[in-house]
């Protein structure tokens, strides 16, 4: 934990619907991203707020890392993949707050 700065209150609470933006920072240059490609562009539901953790995108390059809120979000696998629309399965995934956008209800 390089830089323990006070963090703002979490933007989301359990039950909120969010979207993971469809963006590709890796096309602009070297980076370290913990948001897998397959989840980008999809909507999900906030399940749990874990607290704030140093931003791995900065830590990976030895930079001072901001604390960022981390959440468990859930999405149905049938929303992620076209080919298995009927399977009864879902995904839980840890996503940092700067990779989440609020979906208007």
């Amino acid at each position: 934990m390089n830089l323990q700065v006070p963090v703002t209150a979490p933007l989301f609470k359990p039950g909120d619907m969010v979207r993971i933006p469809l963006v590709w920072p890796e096309q602009k240059g070297p980076c370290h991203i913990r948001t897998p490609a397959y989840i980008r562009g999809h909507s999900a539901q906030i399940i749990c707020h874990f607290g704030a953790f140093p931003n791995p995108e900065e830590l990976a390059f030895g930079k001072p890392a901001q604390l960022i809120h981390l959440y468990h979000v859930a999405v149905s696998l049938s929303d992620l993949w076209d080919d298995d629309a009927k399977q009864d399965a879902s995904l839980l995934i840890e996503i940092y707050e700067h990779w989440l956008e609020k979906l208007s209800p």
Partner: protein, 206 residues
Amino acid sequence: MSDHQHDHDHDHHFPTPESYGLLDRLVNTLVRKGIVSMTELEQTRVETEKGNPQHGAKMVVKAWLDPDYKNLLLRDGVAAAEAIGHSMVGAPPLGVLENTPEIHHMIVCTLCSCYPRKLLGYPPDWYKSSAYRARAVRNPRSLLDEWGIKLQPQTEIRVVDSTADYRWMVLPMRPSGTENLSEEELVKLVTRDCLVGAGLPDSKVD
């Protein structure tokens, strides 16, 4: 992931002479630059080798037998590990997810191979394979079927992609017909694979 060469390198299940050579050069460079010392590397190896699936199995069985401990386990995996005497100093937080008749959790790390190493030791090779990492988030039910793990049709599979600061372990259901087994016998039922939802505890001790 579209880079073929990249995938190919990760699919080697056995280290090659080239990869040992590369590792040697990397370690030598890090030591020469003062980023890491051989003593620190050795300490890390010794610490990691203290991890063992047996610790997780003991925690699972204790949770089956003691509702208070089960609450602790599901609330704070690190505290639950410390409570059985296993040091988690320096480890990432440990989350534990309970399997029920309604929901079966299965852990994967699609980005690399995140795994509760401090508690369970090194992950098995299949856990690190591209095939498991791709299929777990895409066809988990057919994957479990192939492994002979038959879930009830109404059981929802919940794949847990370990992408960030937590490490994840599964609390499997206690098999029926195990009421007369001792704590030691129950621990033998909880294999390494059960602890990440890639197996179910057997109901009999071999």
